[in-house]
Amino acid sequence: MLKIQDLYSGYGNITVLKGLSLDVPQGRIVCLIGSNGAGKTTTLKTVMGLLKIQRGQIEFEGINLNDISTATIVRHGIAYVPEGRRIFPEMTVQENLKIGAYSRLEKKEVAADIDLMLNRFPLLARRVNQRAGNLSGGEQQMLAIARALMSHPRLLLLDEPSMGLGPLLVKQVFELVKEINREGATILLVEQNARMALEIASEGYLLETGRGVMHDPSEVLLNDERVKKVYLGE
């Protein structure tokens, strides 16, 4: 579904990704693990068109994403939940959801989707007209995910959804990710919490200094001695 080939990208003159290739098959949860600076977030940002591709190619369902604007990428069916939640704090919960559906023009269906989303997240429903900045960390993460779902993505990019959340909430978030996947969305997940991520993912890529050094089914990565020692803390 998403194919990245020999990708070079980064910030200005600094190249972070140095020849990354990866493949996200339809219907799966694929996770990227690796230490800080390995290029996990950079990968997601480049797919979304936030960073310029220096070399290589990104393809989504056969469409070349190299020279397409972010707005068009969203319309093609990719959504992004950025690291650190990044909701719109001065806007209401409802407005946040509406922004998520920004690429869709059918007013009625969007309104119906907001109702669906509020049914799904009762915590958000109670605070629908409140400033999103007043929500707790967990609620903000739910809102960030709900906002991304509003664009009906077929591919969802999740950047560190567990960051800054307590263990119970982390579990809830991962349950939610699994559920979204069961409903049909393909997921590319970036996580510090490598163990949790690998437990819900079917396969994983290990990134080191901008390259994929391992690509294996989750069970293999979970039992690999080196991965265990460096990334799973055993």
């Binding site: 319309r75 992004y80 950025p82 719109f88 806007m91 407005e95 920004y102 690429s103 664009s151």
Partner: protein, 347 residues
């Protein structure tokens, strides 16, 4: 209960909802205290020239009305889109000079000059558009530079702008044989323009476009990844800001009958910035409150004579420290307190 019971009920409820707003609901909505207050306030605004005998004070109100348009324009840029601009006086000057030139050289009537001034000022903002890729301090400096460029053009393009001597003899508006000569008459033109502008801005802010602008203010990158075309909306915000400033410039030219490059000065831009900050960033009513405060308060500080500016700056500093959301935020929290105390009493 089976499904058959549920469906018709649901439909009846749906129908009721569809009919109501046209009949009772409207009346009920209009008869709320807020609406009554709003209506009374509107009536007072209409009667101001009759209630206030002091002509100079009406002149000040007129100037605050023009200031309101400027503040409203900057508020769209700064308060709602989160982009700094310290060059709003440039658009104001473009509107004023264009209007003045159209009237004195080509004899165009006021009601043509006003919208044209707004549109050309908006066009200037669109030409300035590519600069909007800059962020923060860099954008601030670029907007200052833009203001200076306009001021220097006005100062040195002598054959057209008359240079430092400015343009004199700009006629008062005449609409269907009625001359809006005095400040009291001119007041209605300004009131009308400000009211329409408020309505336009209100509609924009609560539309899909307005949500996009506010999303950019709240978190530019998150707005970008939600599929919002950032650059387009920033340019739009500046264009709208330029439009309202241009209207203000046109109104000013036809009110005073004389303009000079002074109106494009840096201090003029800073004054607009203060109106927005004092009134309340991201508040439409705040634009009016800020303009009134910045225009009228210094007049009453004249009792302090040469200490006037010091007292003025202290008042501003206190405002920024203790009321960061401006006058609009201050009034908002006061009225909230009163309301919650009322509720306590009722309980």
């Amino acid at each position: 209960m089976n499904l058959g019971d549920v469906m018709p009920n649901h439909q009846i409820n749906g129908d009721k909802k569809a009919i109501r707003p046209l009949t009772e609901d409207w009346w009920r909505r209009l008869s709320t205290p807020q609406c009554m207050l709003f209506g009374a306030f509107g009536l007072v605004l209409l009667l101001i020239p009759f209630l206030v005998q002091d002509i100079y004070f009406i002149h000040l109100i007129n100037l605050s009305g023009i200031g309101t348009l400027l503040a409203l324009g900057l508020n769209l840029v700064l308060g709602f889109t989160g982009q700094i601009s310290i060059g709003q006086a440039a658009y104001y000057a473009v509107g004023a000079y264009l209007s003045a030139l159209l009237a004195t050289r080509l004899g165009f009537p006021f009601w043509v000059n006003l919208p044209v001034a707004g549109l050309i000022a908006a066009l200037c903002a669109i030409i300035f558009g590519p600069v909007l890729r800059l962020r923060g301090h860099f954008l601030a400096i670029a907007t200052i530079a833009f203001g200076e460029i306009v001021r220097i053009i006005l100062l040195s393009w002598d054959p057209v702008t008359n240079g430092p001597r400015g343009i004199i003899g700009i006629p008062h508006p005449k609409i269907m044989g009625f001359t809006f000569g005095s400040d009291a008459r001119y007041y209605y033109i300004i009131l009308f323009t400000v009211a329409i502008s408020f309505l336009i801005v209100y509609l924009i802010i609560h539309s899909r476009t307005g949500r996009a602008l506010r999303a950019i203010r709240d978190d530019q990158d998150a707005a970008w990844t939600s599929g919002i075309a950032i650059h387009y909306y920033k340019t739009l915000a500046f264009a709208l800001g330029g439009f309202f400033s241009g209207l203000g410039g046109s109104l000013y030219a036809h009110l005073t009958g004389y303009i000079s490059p002074e109106i494009a000065s840096f201090s003029q831009s800073v004054q607009v910035l203060m109106m927005v900050v004092v009134g309340g960033m991201g508040s439409i009513t705040g634009s009016a409150l800020g303009a009134l405060a910045i225009v009228i308060v210094p007049e009453y500080l004249r009792v302090f004579e040469h200490l006037r500016l010091i007292v003025y700056s202290i008042v501003l500093l206190l405002m920024i420290i203790y009321a960061p959301k401006g006058l609009a935020g201050l009034f908002g929290s006061i009225s909230k307190k009163i309301l919650s105390e009322d509720q306590k009493k009722e309980e």
